[in-house]
Symmetry: C2
Subunit: 341 residues, 2 copies
Amino acid sequence: MSILGAYEALAKSGISPSANIKFFFEGEEEVSSPHLKEFLDANSDLLQADLWIICDGPRDVFGRKMAVFGVRGDVGMGLTVYGPKRPLHSGHYGNWAPNPAWLLVDLLASMKGLDGHVLINGFYDDVQPLGRAEKDALAAIPNPDSILQGELGIAQPEVSGRSLFESLQLPSLNIKGIQSANIGPIAANVIPVSAKAALDLRLVVGNDSHRQVEKVLEHIRSQGFTVIDHEPTDAERSQIARLIRVDIGSGYNAQRTSLDLPEAKAVAKAIQATTPEPVILLPSMGASLPLIVIERTLGTKIITVPIANYDDNQHAENENLKVQYLWDGIETYAALMTMAW
Amino acid sequence: MSILGAYEALAKSGISPSANIKFFFEGEEEVSSPHLKEFLDANSDLLQADLWIICDGPRDVFGRKMAVFGVRGDVGMGLTVYGPKRPLHSGHYGNWAPNPAWLLVDLLASMKGLDGHVLINGFYDDVQPLGRAEKDALAAIPNPDSILQGELGIAQPEVSGRSLFESLQLPSLNIKGIQSANIGPIAANVIPVSAKAALDLRLVVGNDSHRQVEKVLEHIRSQGFTVIDHEPTDAERSQIARLIRVDIGSGYNAQRTSLDLPEAKAVAKAIQATTPEPVILLPSMGASLPLIVIERTLGTKIITVPIANYDDNQHAENENLKVQYLWDGIETYAALMTMAW
């Protein structure tokens, strides 16, 4: 709405954009953009452009405007570990029947150290280091950690002494959900039939989503599990003590645009003209967008200019957008549509 | 219904019981019998008896009739570990904000070894060894393990080489449920705000429920957690990195009646008269009943005579009772009501 508002305001004011503008609205990003590549391929002539500007993500904690030059990649994995074929009374069978929740917590605990570092072999190996301009830009960003810690009730970050923005330049391994039977008032005295976890792997430049998933699978196997891609058969259950079903999501790699490009400097300058506060230049946001697909398919350049407030509860209940940020977004995008370059 | 059917059949047949019979029906056993002690205290004169016979639990895998001379005790614990105060986008904060699911799996994994043995200090210390008669009775019970393993799809039991009936004579630590955010198609890319587990501790003779819970709490503290009994305040969240809320259920201890008592022999003989198969004499079932409360409050003796089929899906979906077992139960209880002693 900010983009359209900006375009409408320029048209009504009789101001011409400084470039031809094409609008592209992707409605499947939250389900991993399954048709994006196909659409880009089918319309590559129509979609040729010198620069793509992506409107997504939040501005910084201090409310300053931002330009973001990269995104992490993302791939999801679903894990299911199996127990007895039917739920068993935990009294009559407890201590004897293997409990899949124990197997799952053992496996997950083996993946990450108490110090927050991922223990999977080679997990950090492919990371391509930041360049000089990216390191300088990172160093110039005011550290939001203590404000965030206070607001979110975080006594200390996952890795002691590593700042938020440093952390986001590394691949991550996140448990986004875990479940086995029930908890609280509806918990029953049972040995559950299965235990499940959903993992979310963020990738940085240098990582490949298939290679990163393979490292996790290799780790799972090293813990004595046999990996399958289906519900186990009776024969598999009776012969294999540690069975795990792994469902691998469709993922994509990270993308980064050099801060040294003339387009990068032009975008930064245009945003800076709309605000007295210094504009934040972030080498990569922590979140993921399939920008690598756009970059590779069309051979173009991409810069993201976020407009949402950082505390927008994205992907959770009470998702919100502050009205001032919507308004700021109109100004920012009007400036980008008329920027000198 | 078997008990009442047996009594009705005797009455209609003009057969007198061999003792005065009192019926006692407890309707709150599945919610830890919160009013049992109070009721026994208030009616102790009325409830005086030489022997209590309890109708609960399953017969053995081979369908033979059983008498059971003890039960495990039971106590539940609910664990809640905390993350950020609101769910966070796993891209924008992943690698930085502590994830409570990682903390919980680390904690749980530290409680039990990969070999199935509980690693909590002193967990097995208080176990009172079985007597000669109990050991002999256990040794005489045909081993159901391979049948159960085939039926339940269990490639190997939790502790390699330890039979079902041996396992049930030890205290247990079971994860009856675990949950953090969501899994499967509704999983979102978030860092969850909390992770919860429900534990179920079975106790044997020698264990005390408070002492066993204290061992678990001591272990949790040894892993760097601060234990609280309420939702954390903002001050607690911002000062303490590893906060865990522990909710302790009302528990009770195990109970065991000596196989050497004349009442034990009389009950075994009465049941044996109703079946050509040898009657199983089990020193203790794995499940729990608050028999210790009855024994101590009334100063009486207690023997359990189960009638349900072992595959009754107790405490789970498709709970069932085979009609033949209901009928067998009528015969068994009619024999007990008329037994010589």
